[in-house]
């Protein structure tokens, strides 16, 4: 029954295809202007595409961190109660893996993307680009990934190589068990 219906539908579609190019364009939606896209296009890709102008130093980041981040992540990024940001080097293959920015995150650019879109937890998207770059620099410094005098911007951040950059595998190897 279904197969017969599908044949009929396919025939109808073939007829339509002969008259008009597939797929159907319904004409719904309005064109998105560059200004509209710019306001919403907030993602930052691994290679840094999407990073805005601006810059921030470890020192500036330390001050912002103390004021807006330490309450959840601890004074030095390890005390909690929320996600540990630092430490855990060499722990991934042990019985108690410690997945932090320094021990686990493969891309430094993801820090910018996530801090900007989702942090501080109670005031997401409230930090300026300079502030996001600064906090990013400070979190990287806490993990000994960048030196104390580092300044992060759209040019320097994508060049930061994270310690666990090579730690991720794909594609999906499953089914793997049994």
């Amino acid at each position: 029954m279904w197969r017969r219906l599908l044949c009929v539908a396919a025939a109808a579609l073939a007829g339509a295809a002969a008259a008009a190019p597939a797929p159907t364009i319904y004409g719904f939606g309005k064109p998105a202007t560059p200004q509209e896209i710019a306001g919403w296009d907030i993602d930052v890709r691994a290679d840094g595409a999407g990073l805005p102008p601006g810059h921030g130093s470890v020192e500036a980041g330390q001050a912002i961190y103390a004021q807006k981040c330490a309450v959840c992540h601890g004074a030095t990024g390890v005390e909690g109660p929320m996600d540990k940001l630092a430490g855990g080097a060499g722990s991934l293959a042990t019985a108690k893996p410690d997945r932090t920015v320094g021990s686990f995150w493969p891309y430094a650019t993801t820090l910018y993307d996530f801090i900007h879109r989702a942090m501080p937890f109670t005031q997401p998207q409230s930090l300026t680009p300079d502030e996001v770059y600064a906090v990013t620099a400070y979190v990287l410094f806490l993990n000994h990934v960048v030196p104390k005098d580092a300044v992060m911007d759209a040019r320097t951040l994508p060049k930061v190589r994270m310690p666990n950059r090579g730690g991720f595998t794909s594609p999906d190897p499953r089914p793997d068990a049994p």
Partner: protein
């Protein structure tokens, strides 16, 4: 606290039934003494006429949106563990209390990363841009004008199940309740992507939510053009706020967090975007310290919901074992049940309909002889994948990969009929 959270507390489901009960109580006041005696003494049982036949019941529209019987007040979502914040948290579906395969909308499990936003649908927009011929912005009305589809699919959190050994009093809800199943209605994502015109070279899309976490995941373009749905309705009504009202992405068979709720943006690209949720979260750590990335599919799984943890059998005799099976790779083709700890297995009956990437209800008759019994189920899907044992899974993945635990879940039935969790 967000407006939606407040709303959910203030209009808690108990409020209206309580008023209804009070009204009934007032009506009954005249015959209160007789009623009380009847209620306490089993006077509603044969041969007596039950008191609810001797007076008018509650009127219609009390309330206008119907709610479960007050006697079902225990059938609710709960949390597995307390977490530091209730807006980045999960709640579990009470699998052991449900029948069939459909999850009532109010019992669909929740996973939020920044709370439930209170979105006015008139002010919600979906932007489609990136590698497209025509970047477009859609209103909800426009999205609902496209040809639509309605399909039954489960959504399962990749954190469902537990590599950790849980407590003996663990229920089916706590063990495997991060799964729910609804009929979803919406427009195929392929229809909307065609409207924008996907450019050659597009290999991934980024889906972004309009919540305080702006949750984002990369999705292969093949999946986006296959069976992905932009859903605006579940089980006949518009999405519940905690399920993404007014618009969510539905990726049948893929891990729950990718089914982006409160969807506001789809960006077409030529590589994965490497978001936080697909790198440091929702990747699977292996014993050698490497992490599997982009493990999308939820593999075949099953759980016996009756008898299950926390329940108690009332003595030897006939019981119908009942449970749920599912696979993110397609249809369930078989479920086997064991009542002797896996020594022997027999085929359970599958309740129609058996649909792809959807919960399937299975049943098996069982006459319990009163002796301790270890009962379990295992599912097989159309790819001939067989649900593994815990030992088989842990042998490959260790106990720290956290996600995608789909091992066979045994329940121990004790001689006194009580049922407890076994890892």
């Amino acid at each position: 606290m967000g407006g939606a959270a407040l709303l959910r507390e203030e209009v808690g489901w108990m409020d209206v039934p309580r008023r209804r009960v009070l009204k009934s109580a007032a009506l009954l006041a005249g015959t209160a003494a007789a009623g009380r005696v009847a209620a306490q003494g089993g006077g509603n049982l044969p041969p007596n006429v039950p008191e609810w036949m001797k007076t008018q019941g509650a009127p219609i529209l009390t309330p206008p949106y119907g709610l479960p019987s007050p006697f079902e007040k225990g059938v609710v979502r709960i949390q597995r563990t307390k977490v530091p914040t209730q807006t980045a948290a999960t709640s579990l579906t009470p699998l052991q209390d449900l029948n069939g395969i459909i999850t009532p909308n109010g019992l669909h499990f929740e996973r939020d990363h920044g709370g439930v936003p209170a979105i006015d649908p008139a002010q919600h927009r979906l932007m489609v841009h990136g590698l497209v011929e025509r970047p477009l912005i859609f209103t909800m009305d426009e999205l609902m004008r496209f040809p639509s589809v309605s399909r039954l699919h489960f959504i399962e959190c990749s954190g469902n199940g537990s590599y950790e050994v849980l407590a003996p009093d663990t229920t089916a809800q706590v063990s495997r309740g991060l799964i729910s199943c609804c009929e979803w209605t919406g427009v195929l994502l392929s229809t909307v992507l065609n409207e924008a015109g996907v450019k050659p070279g597009a290999t991934w899309i980024l889906a972004e939510g309009a919540d305080a976490a702006g949750v984002t995941r990369s999705v292969p373009i093949e999946k986006a053009m296959d069976d992905a749905i932009l859903a605006y309705a579940q089980n006949g009504e518009r999405l519940r706020p905690e399920q993404g009202y007014p618009l969510r992405l539905l990726l049948p068979g893929y891990e729950g967090n990718m089914n982006i709720k409160w969807l506001r943006r789809v960006k077409v690209g030529d590589q994965p975007f490497q978001t936080r949720e697909e790198t440091s979260k929702y990747s699977d750590l292996m014993p050698d310290g490497s992490a599997r990335q982009f493990t999308f599919v939820m593999e075949a799984n099953s759980i016996i919901t009756f008898p299950s943890g926390g329940q108690k059998l009332k003595g030897p005799g006939f019981y119908e074992i009942s449970g749920l099976a599912w696979s993110g790779r397609g249809r369930i083709t078989g479920v086997e049940v064991s009542t002797d700890g896996g020594k022997t297995w027999r085929r359970a009956a599958l309740q129609e309909p058996v649909l792809t990437k959807c919960l399937t209800r299975f049943r098996a008759p069982w006459t319990w002889d009163g002796a301790p019994a270890l009962i379990m189920s295992r599912s097989i899907d159309e790819t001939r994948y067989v649900q593994p044992t815990r030992a088989e899974l842990v042998a490959v993945r260790g106990v720290n990969s956290y996600y995608h635990y789909n091992a066979i879940q045994p329940w121990q039935v004790a001689g006194d009929g009580s049922v407890t969790y076994v890892a």
